[in-house]
């Protein structure tokens, strides 16, 4: 019998049990359409206590920000403030039906309008839509807007989007989804986009370029203004992947650098929690050129009001919108959290976030540079990459270092990204970690390096103290078990 950490909820079922009670029916029954009714329903039958114990025990198996350090590069695992959770749960927000008439949703609409304005101000964009549900959806919106902009001008020649080879996988995937061809650009020896290659690629078939600032290596591109100029000169538009905004707030506004559009990740920069895989929120900011094409609806002031009356807010579809990206208006619950976060930080707090995020990353970099190879060893932004291997030790990889970190109660950094650095480990501490935590991480990384030299198997067979050991991922893909329930009777013939 295979052991398990925790039984499946189905395995705890006892026929006839239920975990929640509802009031009795208080109206007469109506006839049911007998031939349309299901005859089997395979869901667990457990008590509330069983449910609580099960999920509480499952929660104990997770590492989380609230458990320990989580230096996942490009994910910005900063502290998720608890007041944000209370704010999102206020009944006027949590219990507000999305089909409420605008007049009855003025609190929610005012919040969204203010968030649109604040995000625009932080990044230097004239208009913002909160519609996209995640960063990838924001990217998709941005590229669709670029597409529609060119078509609207009558230009049908532009079929390509330039993407650096260091880009996050969502970038080229987005390009394909939007019907463009992704043209990959090499990086130069500084880790920046190769300007020669870029200039050679710029012609009138280029619709635009996607780039992350700072780069996915955690570096401010030395020649970002040249990059933007090259693309603009050939008639293309510039899209900024805003995943790394934590390094830019109060330091530079992408809109002022010349970007036409960018997406924000509220679940990175603006502290909304990652939730084990979402929900996120990926608003897009644009300049006046792209404003008519924003995904909708967006919140506008419908009536300016006066000294006695507040403004009246309403939902509007932009005149040449690329369309609706999801039902309703975006992940509103995340808008509330981000609004609360920005409101509490204010102008000085927002600036401090970036300053201390960048200080923390540089501190770790200088302390580890003699133990691990740092391929681009100059002042970094909010994250940096080091190589997770040793010249004088065979067969120890970034993966092994990552798994060994788990034994020390630390979540591994991002592995094997960006692809242009061998055995990449991308470390992003964020501004919410204190010096003692960083010093502990530095000590642990040094200890692991020493272990690699003295007893490398300790790394290769790690983790030792996590709830499970390394998993057989080949078996998972070959013997696909995606559901623990047997087929129902009516499917027996399939």
């Amino acid at each position: 019998m295979t052991q398990a950490l925790e039984p499946l909820i189905y395995d705890m079922s006892v026929a006839g049990r239920t975990g929640a009670l509802l009031p009795a029916l208080d109206v007469p029954e109506s006839p049911l359409p007998k031939d349309l009714l299901r005859t089997t329903l395979d869901l667990p039958e457990v008590s509330e206590l069983q449910v609580m114990r099960h999920f509480v025990r499952l929660s104990h198996l997770n590492h989380s920000i609230d458990t320990g350090f989580y230096p996942l590069g490009s994910c910005t695992m900063k502290y998720n403030p608890k007041v944000n959770e209370d704010a999102a749960r206020l009944p006027g927000f949590a219990q507000l039906h999305p089909r409420t008439d605008d007049e009855g949703a003025q609190g929610a609409l005012a919040l969204m309008y203010q968030l649109q304005t604040w995000l625009g101000e932080i990044s230097g964009f004239q208009a913002v839509s909160l519609a996209p549900a995640a960063g990838a959806q924001g990217e998709f919106a941005g590229i669709l807007m670029i597409r529609k902009y060119h078509l609207d001008r009558g230009d049908t020649k532009r079929t390509k989007i330039l993407v650096p080879n260091s880009a996050h996988g969502t970038n080229p995937a987005t390009v394909s989804m939007a019907g463009f061809e992704a043209v990959e650009l090499p990086s130069d020896q500084n880790g920046d986009v190769d300007l020669e290659a870029l200039r050679a690629a710029c012609d009138d078939t280029i619709a635009g370029m996607m780039i992350t600032v700072p780069s996915t290596l955690g570096l401010f591109e030395g020649h970002i203004l040249d990059v933007i100029k090259a693309v603009h000169d050939c008639g293309g538009l510039m899209y900024m992947d805003g995943a790394n905004m934590n390094a830019l707030m109060g330091v530079v506004k992408p809109g002022e650098l010349g970007f036409d559009v960018m997406h924000y990740n509220l679940h990175k920069t603006f502290s909304t929690p990652h939730g084990g895989g979402g929900p996120g929120s990926g608003p897009v900011g644009v300049n006046d050129k792209l404003k008519p094409f924003l995904p909708g609806p967006v919140v506008e002031i419908v009536d300016a009001g006066n000294d006695e009356e507040p403004p009246l807010y309403g939902l509007k579809m932009p005149e040449k919108s690329i369309g609706r990206l999801k039902a309703f208006y975006g992940n509103f619950g995340m808008h509330v959290r981000a609004y609360t976060y920005i409101g509490i930080h204010g102008d000085t707090g927002i600036k401090d976030i970036t300053r201390y995020a960048v200080l923390n990353a540089n501190y770790i970099r200088v302390k580890l540079r003699d133990t691990y190879r740092v391929p681009y060893d100059r002042i970094c932004a909010h994250e940096f990459v080091l190589e997770g291997h040793f010249e004088d030790v065979e067969n120890v990889h970034a993966l092994d270092i990552s798994k060994r970190l788990m034994d020390y109660g630390i979540h591994p950094p991002t592995n094997y990204f960006p692809l242009i650095v061998p055995e990449a480990l991308m470390i992003e501490p964020t501004e919410t970690e204190d010096k003692a935590t960083l010093d502990e991480f530095i000590d642990v990384m040094k200890k692991i390096a020493a272990e690699a030299h003295q007893d490398a198997d300790l790394l290769r067979t790690a983790p030792h103290t996590a709830p499970v050991k390394r998993l057989d991922e080949v078996r998972a893909a070959k013997q696909l078990v995606l559901c623990c329930r047997p087929l129902p009777e009516w499917a027996a013939g399939d």
Partner: protein
């Protein structure tokens, strides 16, 4: 004094700056073009938590929400009872402050919960497998189109959509595919299922219907899958999962893919998001679908464990060849649904669905008996029904809101032939008193 989330003291900052080899924190930004460095941020001054919550409370109080009003509006989002325990689990920070489970050894909580969610959704919909979520029901449907095009090996690019699918979903499907050659047909008028079947041909990749449809009606889908399959296309069914507590699953009707909105399963109304797009499929399509998928395996010690699988489909590996760019999805909402379905279970879900059914039918009977109002009884319905009204829906709702009632949805906004027609939703949260009050007000308005 810095705010509390940034813990550095002045002494620590100094130590760190000198370790890095710079004098001030601003020195760290030399690489940023000087002409654009350190712009002014026109944001308000910081607020304490106390002040912020007071401001938010005032804003929230302005909204006409289900805590203060009797809600009879659905149209894609439903006011259902959420057992307390769901929120308590969601507030466990080991769940909500965790990242995507890329490192499975330290993410078994998230992974097993998603596996259980996948299993429950597969059972509920009568499918073989489910993914870990999409953004919502609308985007799930959009992704189903991508699967159907892929299943047709790119040779078929016609998609037949029932006009009775939620109008917002049909907009989203078009937004998603505006960069492709896909043709969307069928939803321009009032085609019923038989009309849609007539549109099937050798160019059709997919036919999609809703169950219940946007009007609350339940169509008998018997025989539809056979016709769609004969034409070489996929049958995609958009469902309200709450209805599946009572009604036959689309799997039983031969659907290839079942998608829909999981908000009714323990997720608050929250002004439209975050919600939960579920995507369930027959095994034969599982390698085509987008989104994360959790599978069962063993660790080195032979212990059962869970891991994200079929990863090469995803954007970080396939990049420009990935079928979708989806990365972050709605993981915590999948957990919500899992906890809700565990608490309610087999018996509770049937009971909730039954309460919805009978309460909606009681309301329909009472309203239909009023002079000036006619309820559409052409087909069986679940918890929503259409009422032809003696006045405009806007006028009726203006009156109702004064009486503490959020009335039904104005279908005339989306369907020109349905002027003065209100879509009324009734759930287990509406007691008899509330329903009777609605009926009394409707009677009053008509007189």
């Amino acid at each position: 004094m810095m705010m509390s989330y940034i813990p550095h003291t002045d002494a620590e900052r100094q130590q760190m700056l000198s370790a890095v080899g710079v004098t001030t924190i601003e020195d760290l930004f030399e690489a940023v073009p000087a002409s654009h460095r350190f712009p002014k941020l026109d944001l308000p001054a910081p607020l304490s938590e106390m002040e912020m919550m007071a401001e938010l409370q005032a804003m929230a109080e302005a909204d006409e929400h289900a805590g203060d009003f009797a809600v009879f509006r659905g149209a894609g989002a439903y006011h259902h009872f959420i057992p307390s325990a769901v929120n308590h689990i969601l507030l466990r920070s080991e769940f909500y402050t965790a990242y995507t489970p890329y490192q499975p050894e330290v993410s078994q909580g998230t992974l097993q919960a998603i596996f259980e969610y996948q299993s429950m959704m597969s059972s509920l919909t009568g499918m073989d497998a489910a993914n870990a979520s999409h953004y919502d029901g609308a985007t799930s449907l959009a992704e189903a189109v991508t699967v159907a095009i892929d299943a047709g090996r790119g040779k078929r690019n016609k998609i037949i959509l029932s006009p009775a699918i939620n109008p917002q979903y049909r907009e989203v499907v078009r937004t998603y595919h505006q960069g492709q050659d896909t043709k969307f047909v069928g939803d321009g008028g009032q085609a019923d299922i038989a009309d849609l079947v007539d549109m099937l041909d050798g160019d059709t990749a997919m036919l999609a219907v809703a169950y219940p449809n946007f009007f609350g009606q339940i169509d008998d889908l018997k025989g539809l899958a056979e016709k769609v399959h004969t034409a070489g296309a996929l049958l995609v069914v958009v469902v309200n999962p709450m209805a599946l507590g009572l009604f036959k699953s689309p799997g039983e009707f031969g659907a290839d893919i079942v998608v829909g909105e999981g908000q009714p399963l323990g997720i608050p109304l929250s002004y439209g998001g975050p919600y939960l797009g579920f995507f369930c499929t027959k095994m034969k399509h599982v390698r085509r679908i987008a989104g994360r998928i959790v599978g069962e395996t063993l660790d080195e010690d032979g212990k059962r464990a869970f891991v994200m699988t079929l990863r090469p489909r995803e954007q970080d590996i396939r990049r420009e060849k990935a079928s979708s760019n989806i990365c972050t999805n709605q993981g915590l909402m999948a957990l919500s649904a899992c906890v809700y379905l565990s608490l309610m279970g087999k018996n509770g879900i049937k009971q909730v669905a039954t309460l919805n059914y009978h309460k909606a039918h009681y309301a329909a009977d009472q309203i239909n008996a009023l002079a000036g109002y006619t309820v559409d009884r052409a087909k069986p319905f679940f918890n929503e029904f259409m009422v032809k009204c003696p006045k405009s829906v806007a006028e009726i709702n203006d009156h109702l809101i004064q009486k503490g009632i959020v009335g039904g949805y104005d279908l005339g906004q989306d369907y020109p032939h349905l002027q003065n027609t209100m879509l009324v939703a009734v759930t287990e949260t509406n007691n008899r008193e509330e329903i009777d009050a609605l009926v009394a007000e409707l009677k009053e308005i008509a007189s």
